[in-house]
Amino acid sequence: MAHSVDNLQRIGVKFFLSEAPDPEKVIGVFHRWIQNGSVDGMLIDVADYSHVEQGPGVLLVGHEGNYAVDWTRNRPGVVYYRKQPLEGDLGERLRTVCETALQAAELLEDESDLGAGAKLRGDEVQIFANDRLLAPNDAGTQSAFQPALDGLLDRLFNGSSRQLCRDEDPKERFNMDVKAETGAAAAALRARLND
């Protein structure tokens, strides 16, 4: 029997960074991205929450999804989360979201203003679902989600071994933390998804 998570659209992904970049510089970068249409989607504005400790950092708000350099739980990372529906099955949607996030991560890695702070660790990713109705944070969702996730991770990490972990607090959104044995730069990860 199909699980509601198969219909999940509000998928999010966070690729962790080696260290935290200067938020003020990120604001400038995101404004420039709007001017140049550097990333996918209709881009609306930049929201600065860098004053909030362990917060969502600096967001590039779009219509289809939001990009962010995020500081949640003191772990900086590049985030993309989808707000509008995507084409394809769950596996395809998952791949699209990751690819979009990696496109942003790749651009951030190339931003000379941000220095080493915007370098991806490349060996750790968090997938989350912004939808407690379709994807409650429980074992049922995890097992229904697992095939699509495995398909993504096999491509992303070239089949290398990895550890999966879920924060099982039922109040948290559904989430999967993945730590791979070996990592790669954003461009390499993205290329693997497109192979």
């Binding site: 509000r10 404004h31 709007i34 504005d45 930049v46 929450y49 004053h51 219509h63 109040k171």
Partner: protein
């Protein structure tokens, strides 16, 4: 696929569930074009679904104004409000009271539909930003399932009923106002008598006169708890105020009655609502708040009308039903009270304890304030805070008008452990209700009306002040800073030691973000007095203004005087002189930093701007003239401070005439000094053509000039004089904005300044 509607069926109050269904249907009808957009806008607002900046479908990205190509094109959810554009959802939290279950849901909604941030407002509400309108119905259902309604969170209705967050545990209160605030909210929610207001109506309750927690004097209706001895028995009642409000022209509420018995507070509120609905202005939004009605009728006539109305009200059981339950009312602490013991105290605890902990009147218990920078808390923090609340205090959590959250009934012995848990979440910042704890409205971040970045400035000031908070003198630490992005006062800039509100100035053909500096306001005594602006300073120099004034205060302070007392003693003229070079803006080629706002690297502009030589000359002239108009406003303030009300009124009129003349001279240099001539030319060139009109305020500010010119009214008393001074200040600001707009649109052409008749091409 299951929906939230199906999942939550039976968990929502039936009438609330039905209302949300109806709203969802109205959304569909609007989508089909079957509901007129103005009507739908008010319907949407009454559900708390607000517009947000750029929802007109365009945005200046720093290189020019660009269209935002939303998928559903120009479908609208209100006039000039694109359907697809993200908006703000305001969530009413009556008296700021939240329980952990509600906090969990608020956290979830922020995460799933917004940007992961719950924003606490200055009226104890919670706002979520960047919400897609289609997500509104499930959001409202999830809120309804935990007992929260957004009904009448916006629109022309009774807004959130606020109350002192210490109510029930305060050491100074007459009695706990919480059940009265709650009953007022419940009684008036959706009441037929509040459905025909011309504008919003705000109510606040306070347990005492002397503190600021309730801010009674700046509300449409404010109630202060008082008791009386009658036949040897203590009887509860309220000192009731009406007609207060900030906004562009602030009014201090006036005393309606020094004792309204507790069983009369609801019927009187109902009768006031009826009088306001019947006699309040409807067409001119700028004069539709109850403060204008009270002023035009006079308090005695207003009261007579309310009392007449009261006599006609059919009896309603709800007026007093809750009073019968009051003996059983009261919060139950989760744990037995006990004092803070001698356990080791972690680093940072003492500073936090000094500023964020308030000893309740109940022995062994405290209120712990969770300081939220700019009122923001993340979903993760909110959920974790709900868990902390469950373990330490049960259900006793409230938002505050200072944009913080307080945990009540914390056992003193738990404070160290609580501090450590908050610290792990990044929620242990000290400085609650101090100069570091700056209040700011959303400003240009998300508000359609914002002129300058109030939040950007607040974040910058907070960073600088927090870095040296320990070194600050207690007198400075006790000061308050409040910032609004425009003159509309959502940041409450009138009632702080140092207030700032966003304006702009044209410098060399470029628009430069500025803030008007407001001094003399009083936060205590329920916002006991309002400050006035003393001059506009470039946004980037405001941190130096704070340093300048706090340094001067410490140096020149006499005895134990507060900043407000100090400002009153030395006078605005002396304070203005201290601003000195801080009011100046370097040329853009010398320092472009001044030409962008805090936290926003885009060039501060309202469009593509020209810098033609001829325009430059005209700019010089108009800026010079407007600067003189500002000077006249300031002199009017000095007269006001000296109690010379007629002189203040006269000077403020001169300031308006000077501002109008400055604009007229942009087209017609030969305008005379004759008031009739100035007003006539101004009306013809700027009002009739709507060139002077503000996008949102329309011709409101011009009406200040016309009314004054036609009535030749003087100032009978301090309040009237103050209003005239405020209006002249706003009129001159509007002249600045108009001048910038005209130049930005390239309409001040060569020859305009010397020809006798020029038609603007806009």
């Amino acid at each position: 696929m299951t929906t939230w509607k199906e999942k939550l069926e039976g968990q929502m109050p039936e009438d609330w569930a039905r209302e949300i269904d109806i709203f969802e249907n109205q959304m569909e009808l609007r989508r089909q074009g079957k509901v007129e957009e103005k009507l739908f806008a008010e319907t949407r607002l009454r559900r708390g679904a607000y517009g947000q900046r750029y929802d007109n479908g365009q945005r200046n990205d720093g290189t020019g104004t660009k269209p935002l190509a939303f998928p559903q094109g120009q479908s609208t959810k209100g006039p000039d409000t694109v359907w697809d554009a993200p908006g703000m959802q305001r969530i009413k939290i009556p008296f700021g009271g939240m329980n952990p279950e509600q906090m969990d849901v608020l956290a979830d909604l922020a995460e799933e539909y917004s940007d992961g941030i719950c924003h606490i407002t200055t009226r104890q509400d919670i706002q979520l930003h960047y919400v897609h309108f289609e997500d509104t119905p499930p959001m409202l259902r999830r809120l309804a399932a935990v007992g929260i309604t957004t009904r009448e969170a916006c629109g022309n209705s009774v807004r959130n009923v606020t109350a002192c967050p210490l109510a029930g545990v305060c050491r100074d209160e007459s009695f706990d106002v919480t059940p009265y605030a709650n009953a007022t909210m419940q009684f008036l929610l959706g009441h037929p008598d509040i459905q025909d207001f011309g504008r919003k109506f705000k109510i606040a309750f306070s347990g005492c006169r002397q503190h600021a927690c309730g801010l009674v004097t700046m509300h449409d209706m404010g109630a202060i708890a008082v008791t009386r001895e009658v036949d040897g028995k203590t009887v509860r009642g309220f000192e009731l105020y009406v007609g207060g409000g900030l906004g562009a022209v602030p009014h201090e509420a006036v005393l309606y009655d020094d004792f309204v018995a507790e069983d009369e507070i609801l019927p009187i509120a109902q009768a006031i609502s009826r009088v306001f609905a019947r006699l309040g202005e409807k067409r001119n939004r700028a004069r539709a708040r109850v403060k204008f009605l009270v002023k035009s009728l006079g308090i005695d006539e207003f009261k007579r009308l309310v009392e007449e109305e009261r006599k006609t009200l059919p009896h309603d059981e709800r007026w007093t039903a809750y009073i019968e339950e009051l003996p059983a009312y009261g919060e139950k602490p989760l744990k037995d009270g006990s004092a803070l013991n001698g356990a080791g105290r972690p680093e940072g605890f003492e500073q936090w304890y000094d500023t964020n902990v308030y000893k309740q009147r109940q022995e062994g218990y405290c209120v712990a304030a969770v300081t939220l920078p700019l009122g923001d808390i993340t979903s993760y923090q909110m959920r974790a805070l709900a868990e902390i609340a469950r373990r330490y205090v049960g259900e006793s959590v409230r938002t505050t008008v200072g944009q913080n959250v307080v945990l009540r009934w914390v056992r003193e012995a738990d404070l160290i452990e609580l501090y450590q848990e908050l610290d792990a979440l990044g929620l242990s910042a000290p400085g609650a209700e101090s100069i570091v704890d700056i209040v700011a409205c959303p400003g240009t971040d998300t508000c359609k009306l914002g002129i300058a970045s109030s939040r950007g400035l607040a974040a910058e000031l907070r960073t600088r002040l927090a870095a040296k908070a320990v070194e600050l003198d207690q007198a400075v630490r006790d000061m308050r800073i409040k910032i609004s992005g425009c003159f509309n006062s959502c940041g409450q800039h009138h009632v702080s030691d140092l207030g700032f509100y966003g304006v702009s100035r044209n410098v060399g053909g470029y628009t430069v973000p500025h803030f008007q500096v407001v001094v003399g306001g009083k936060w205590v005594d329920n916002a006991g007095s309002y400050g006035l602006p003393i001059g506009a300073v470039p946004s980037k120099n405001i941190p130096d203004v704070v340093t300048c004034f706090t340094d001067a205060f410490l140096k020149e302070r006499e005895g134990q005087e507060s900043f407000q007392q100090y400002a009153s003693r030395v006078g605005k003229k002396a304070l203005k002189e201290k601003l000195g070079d801080l009011t100046k803006v370097p040329a853009r080629d010398d320092d472009a930093w001044y030409y962008s706002d805090w936290g926003d690297p885009r060039e501060f502009t309202i469009g593509d701007m020209g810098t033609g030589e001829c325009a430059g000359e005209v700019v010089s002239l108009v800026e010079y003239d407007l600067s003189f108009a500002e000077e006249l406003v300031f002199e009017a303030q000095l007269h006001l401070d000296d109690g010379q009300f007629e002189a203040a009124a006269e000077k403020s009129f001169k300031a308006m005439l000077q501002g109008a003349k400055a604009l007229v001279k942009m087209q017609f240099l030969d305008v005379t000094d004759d008031p009739d001539h100035i007003v006539s030319e101004f009306r013809q060139r700027y009002y009739d053509t709507e060139v002077f009109f503000d996008r949102f305020a329309g011709g409101k500010f011009a009406q200040y000039l016309f009314r004054r010119h036609e009535s030749k009214e003087g100032a009978g008393d301090a309040a009237s004089a103050r209003t005239l001074v405020e209006e002249s200040s706003l009129f001159v600001e509007a002249c600045h904005a108009c001048s910038a707009k005209v130049q930005a649109q390239g309409t001040a052409r060569e020859g305009d300044a010397t020809s006798s008749v020029v038609t603007l091409e806009i």
